[in-house]
Subunit: 379 residues, 2 copies
């Protein structure tokens, strides 16, 4: 068997029903307007004709490509027209496609540490040599000697996964300058930056003059719902054809009716409205988490200030071990992911990943109460 599937672990099967504190990587599905979505979908389905049952171009359904280009231009500061947008099933497929088209085995690639495990699996599947880039308060660090010969750098500038840092403007400029000089490409994973609670939104790397060196990817899994399996990849112009060709033989194209429904949902203004509603709900939940932690966990766990996203980091007081805390929490129905699961961390303190967006305020408070007992016992 090829190294591809050896040792790969499957992603969590999502549990149904009410989500426990502090489930990460999922949005608040209980707040999703399912009835509205069903109405938009039914209207589109009723209008379906024989022509709409045919496939579409590999790059995607034209109306959705256009809607995504408009959205990214306005909201994410991405420099794109619809002919640079490829519709995919999500960031994993976007990255997989990129590595398959761009790399040959043995090529050097770089990614953040700690960082997204799914990206590491794909780099391993591509038989790439991986350079790990530490993360500081300004985001992924840049050590030109470490990056020598690197062909592709994977980063999460909007909201570093898992630390939650937003990459600073000087660092963004430096990363782009490095890519230009090295003739390298940047894979910008914009996985959950639609929800911003504070701070000034920075334009995407791609939009800071990096459009010829950046592959910008995002998905609708977290801004709408994970079952949808639709996302996008914005490409430098000369990569659109080879990526479309590769997509056409591996998957042909994304499902057409779902693409059309999503395009209608965006064009009808429902998408923008949903983002606004979720931003305010998530800000409230983040507030509940921060307040409750300050009150009950002071001196033992400090919730990191995040500007965006669905999750944050709980930094443990020196001496507290993330693995032990997470294990004790699990027994009381509280989910915490030790940051060390995403790679090596510098500094004396350990951290745990804590999701707040998908968890109801009452359950957030229960989680903090349980944690207070656990941390008191561990200290």
């Amino acid at each position: 068997m090829a190294p591809f599937a050896k040792g790969l672990v499957m992603y969590d099967t999502p549990e149904p029903g009410r989500l426990r504190a502090f489930r990460t990587n999922v949005p608040a599905l209980d707040l999703f307007p399912t009835t509205l979505w069903a109405q938009v979908a039914s209207r589109r389905l009723r209008r379906a004709t024989a022509a709409s049952l045919h496939g579409c171009e590999a790059a995607g359904y034209p109306a959705l490509r256009a809607a995504v280009a408009d959205y990214l231009t306005l909201s994410r500061g991405v420099a794109c027209s619809e002919d640079r947008v490829l519709i995919v099933s999500g960031v994993q497929e976007a990255l997989d496609l990129a590595l398959r088209v761009l790399l040959v085995p043995g090529d050097r690639v770089a990614l953040e540490e700690p960082g997204h495990i799914g990206a590491r699996y794909l780099f391993a599947a591509a038989r790439a040599r991986i350079v790990r880039v530490p993360v500081d308060a300004e985001g992924a660090t840049l050590d030109p000697r470490r990056l020598e010969g690197v062909r592709l750098l994977y980063v999460t500038p909007a909201h570093q996964f898992p630390l939650g840092v937003s990459m600073s403007l000087p660092r963004r400029v430096a990363v782009l300058e490095w890519a230009r000089q090295a003739g390298a490409l940047i894979f910008e994973d914009d996985y959950d930056s639609e929800f911003r609670y504070s701070g000034r939104p920075l334009p995407a790397l791609q939009g800071l003059g990096g459009e010829d060196h950046t592959l910008f990817a995002g998905s609708f899994s977290k801004v709408l719902f994970p079952a949808l399996r639709l996302g996008y990849l914005v490409l430098p112009q000369d990569l659109v054809d080879p990526f479309s060709a590769a997509l056409s033989v591996t998957r042909r194209h994304a499902p057409v009716l779902e693409q059309a429904v999503l395009a209608d949902f965006i064009e009808g203004g429902h998408f923008a409205r949903h983002i606004r509603r979720m931003r305010s709900a998530y800000a409230e939940r983040l507030g509940v988490l921060t307040e409750a932690a300050k009150r009950r966990l002071r001196g033992r766990l400090e919730v990191s200030e995040v500007e965006a996203g669905l999750q944050t980091v709980g930094w443990l007081a020196p001496g507290l071990e993330a693995g032990r805390v997470a294990a004790a929490a699990r027994e009381r129905g509280v989910r915490l992911v030790p940051i060390s699961q995403y790679g090596r961390l510098r500094g004396p303190r350990q951290g745990v990943h804590m999701g707040f967006a998908a968890v109801e305020p009452r359950e957030i408070r229960r989680g903090i109460d349980e944690l207070a007992g656990i941390l008191a016992a561990e200290a």
Copy 2:
């Protein structure tokens, strides 16, 4: 750039509107019950809950896996329970996944010639060494010396692509025996065998005792509609976990709501009814093609008798060149694909691929009329 996307051509963008004679590889979308599909989908969407917006397991939505297992057991003679069924976007993704999980660069693989070009692209992307297997009247031929060291054999036994031959029972037994002795795997592409017009349906290779050596793949693109992008892969038990793991990092899983709608459509009996209706419509269209060709093209083009599928081969009289005929036909709005585009052909006669299922009877007759003029001029 990696060899993956170099030289790959994109699949045809399907043209909208009425299909011209003799479009291949598509079903009769004008006969698809879009209203019924919309009703089933709307009912499912109205019942959608937060839980159904979550993702599902990588292997697929449980109710669809079960419905596919039932269907394949009853209708295709496949030996399977739902835990061996993986839901994918189609045969291309199924084969891509198989090659990525099972092969390392340089591995020997075999496929039919002439054969499916999409399979050849994927073998090239996997950096496999390709052995070409000629096709005779009983299907793919078996020359054990040629197949020495081959790890995977790709075949289309139900209805060879593009020649339309059904693999004989003795040949099926011999293929399975070879796989068992060689410790090789068979990839059985069952791409359009739902529609059978004559002859006795043979059980799938997979169901002839080959379930531990056979990967059986099919899709709903031709039996329902291409825009859907859902298909299946039935695996030997020990491959289910590694394939699911690989799928979970490349694509997570297929879209959940579309899977649920399809499961409802099958469970409601609509799927079986649609197949019956299409079988009779396609049999009529095949009859129109055969009759018209006999009447107008006698001695110049002979339509091959096919037992199943959406297309057949028009064999040209010796001396007539398929490329020239197809070029002349294109100018008169008639599509013919020279069989030589799918690989080398043995024998003195050249052939053209002719689709009949998606083309209305009147348009079939027009196509034959045009061809009559072209062949008279060429002869």
